[in-house]
Symmetry: C2
DNA sequence: CGGCAATTTGAATAATATCAATTGTAGTGG
DNA sequence: CCACTACAATTGATATTATTCAAATTGCCG
């Protein structure tokens, strides 16, 4: 295993308050791994034996119903902790994490969790902040799902992707990892057919530009209007 | 202010590991208050200046959209901590809490949060366990909302109420606080009309028995079937 | 007893899912 | 390099569910 460089973590909030030597310790206990697109990092209901930090790539956090339907609960971007079930005193993961693009993550055994929270200033704080944000995000999604029509939900989902992972290109803001119509339908609780129709219509209107697994939002402001965020 | 009795807390998980004297300290810092049905304990977005323990009654946790629609995110039963935004490093409450029935709650200023978590064994653990359960619950609701048809969602919502707050009576299991058709529609993201029609049909089928603001489930097993929890 | 809130119910409508078939695109291996 | 295959996307037609609109009824509280 190659030695990991300290600069990997030194700017990330959970570790930004640490001394160089502490970061060294953290890295020395970490396992680094690469995940192919489509691979599961861990699965819902399994023993939560490790916690993670995403260094590069993007993840989908997914739940599956007994009936086999899937929904995408949220996405994870580089620099975020995930699989931090131990923070909530859970001994199993509450959802499945799948690499939405080729990804790299560090991980540590849960047995180190209490060491981290007690010895490393800012680590606990940041972890709980992350959880708080995620809880808020899920509540937002729930509220949206319960009250908004499909078109608005899809618009909101796209905007969320754009805000979290978008990068500017000529011609608009591009979503940084592969997304299919089907993925979006799983984020919004609709069918890929409906999503396809909506995206086609928006493309005709010049709001988005999309090819296979790839979406560029060309007129974000108009998408915001469609999303119905009233003042 | 009357002195609060130690037996109030001694059996509740967050405090069950404490010495008598510690419970005394906790109570001496607590403010006890009664809330009329329909009263807000705190509101979404406001400064999270206190955290709470529900002693008696029931609460609805509610979010409101810019458009004025409301949804009920979850319910809180006696013995549960709530308003524990500080645990997630939030400085505002992420939702509104309303007394669904006349209720009594203790509260403490957030400034005591870190004292509680560091000095009182088991308190932090239980708080985070509660959050973990709540996060799981919300994810369940989200998944359900995204994948299930209205009838199943309403069946699930009723079952959830029954499981959390139901008490056996002759003739079935009764939901322990006032619930309107409108409330159920806000739990399930549908209209009160649809809920009314469903309950009427179920009543005709002998599955529930309901009067104004009051529901008794007479055939829980059949409701489970309707809820579509497949093996 | 009056009035408000909760509930019920019918009919019309619109949104979205379902069904079904086709086209397009990328990757694979001969 | 091309054919083959698997996956992704499009699109029309139809079916259906649940909302919306509208109105009436019921029960409770003061």
């Amino acid at each position: 295993m190659p030695k990991l460089d300290e600069s990997l973590l030194s700017d990330l909030p959970p570790f930004s308050l640490l001394e160089r030597s502490q970061i060294r310790e953290v890295l020395d206990h970490a396992v680094s791994r690469r995940y192919e697109e489509g691979t599961a990092i861990f699965r819902e209901g399994h023993d939560a034996d490790r916690f993670y930090m995403l260094l590069d790539g993007y993840l989908r956090v997914v739940r599956t119903t007994p009936g086999g339907d899937q929904i995408i609960v949220l996405h994870i971007s580089p620099g975020q902790l995930f699989g931090i079930a131990p923070a909530l005193q859970r001994d199993t993961y509450p959802a499945t994490s799948i690499a939405a693009a080729e990804s790299i993550a560090l991980s540590w055994p849960v047995s180190l969790w209490s060491d981290f929270t007690t010895n490393y200033p800012g680590f606990a704080t940041e972890s709980y902040k992350t959880l708080g944000q995620r809880l808020g995000q899920i509540q937002d999604t729930l509220t949206e799902m319960a009250t908004q029509a499909v078109e608005k939900r899809v618009a909101c989902a796209l905007l969320r992707l754009v805000n979290q992972t978008g990068r500017k290109t000529e011609g608009g803001i591009e979503i940084a990892f592969p997304v299919t119509r089907h993925d979006i339908s799983e984020m919004t609780g609709t069918t890929l057919h409906t999503v396809s129709r909506l995206l086609s219509a928006w493309q005709k209107d010049g709001i988005v530009q999309s090819t296979r697994k790839h979406i560029v939002v060309t007129a974000p402001h108009r998408l915001v209007l469609l999303s119905g965020i009233e003042g």
